[in-house]
């Protein structure tokens, strides 16, 4: 399956949906910082991988998919749920990449502070894409 960008998908989202994600992202970052200040970085660090944004994204994907099907006169409940499930399977693979990001920061941050972020970000991209491709390969070979 070829990865591509569909710019017209941006028209499906309303401005307030981006506003909600901005607010949710801001709040999650704020709360993660407050928890780190209050309970220490050992506990605060956990919340850098808190799935708040994923909750919002999955719900929006489901809503958009159902709306699209409804416009074609079809009940889109099942299609909306399937779309959200696909998003969740991707997030599971991205979570593995995120663990790689954390590992690099853990190992490199004391000596190579800023560079560790660059290497960690590249690690996230590489692990996420590699695990997605592997998942696709096994899914299609299993059919």
């Amino acid at each position: 399956m070829i990865v591509h960008a569909r710019i017209s998908a941006l028209n499906e989202s309303r401005w307030y949906e981006y506003g909600a994600r901005f607010a949710l992202g801001g709040m999650t970052t704020l709360i993660a910082g407050v928890i780190s200040d209050r309970f220490g970085p050992e506990t605060g660090g956990l919340f850098l991988a808190f799935p708040a944004i994923f909750c919002a994204s999955a719900t929006l994907i489901e809503t958009h998919e159902r709306k699209r099907k409804k416009e074609h006169g079809v009940d889109g409940y099942r299609r909306g749920t399937d779309a959200a499930a696909l998003d969740a399977s991707g997030a599971a693979l991205g979570g593995i990449g995120l663990a790689g990001f954390g590992l690099i920061v853990w190992l490199l941050a004391p000596d190579h502070s800023l560079m560790s972020f660059v290497i960690a970000s590249v690690t996230w991209v590489v692990i996420s894409i590699a695990s997605w491709r592997l998942h696709q390969k096994f899914r299609h070979s299993g059919k």
Partner: protein, 112 residues
């Protein structure tokens, strides 16, 4: 001021990754961005300038545990959606209990 900066940085990073996730296809690939390091980059960058590399390193170690919990959480959400046909809001919110249990449990077990 510090909190306002955190809010702004986190909001901007999350929105940027959300836009990427919206335009990319197929949907399973776009889903990768649901676990993008948006909150992490914003928080760790600010922590680096305020508290230094050692502090950031400790946060990174815990983040690794939280991320593995996120991966398992996402699998649970996927199963709730596919097998029980739960709505997205019901599946993602109810499975948060799994994320809390796993991340806090693993943290207690591995770090103390």
């Amino acid at each position: 001021m510090d909190y306002a900066l955190r809010f702004l940085a986190g909001g901007l990073m999350v929105t940027a990754f959300a836009i990427l996730g919206d335009v990319l296809r197929p949907k399973s690939f776009a889903g990768l961005f649901g676990a993008a390091p948006s909150v992490a980059v914003a928080t760790l960058s600010l922590a680096l300038f305020k508290q230094g590399g050692i502090y950031v390193s400790v946060e990174g170690r815990s983040m690794m545990i939280g991320a593995l919990a996120l991966a398992i959480y996402s699998v649970v959400v996927c199963q709730l959606l596919m097998r029980l046909r739960a709505s997205a809001i019901m599946a993602t919110v109810s499975a948060l209990a799994v994320w809390f249990a796993l991340s806090l449990g693993f943290k207690q077990l591995l770090i103390g």
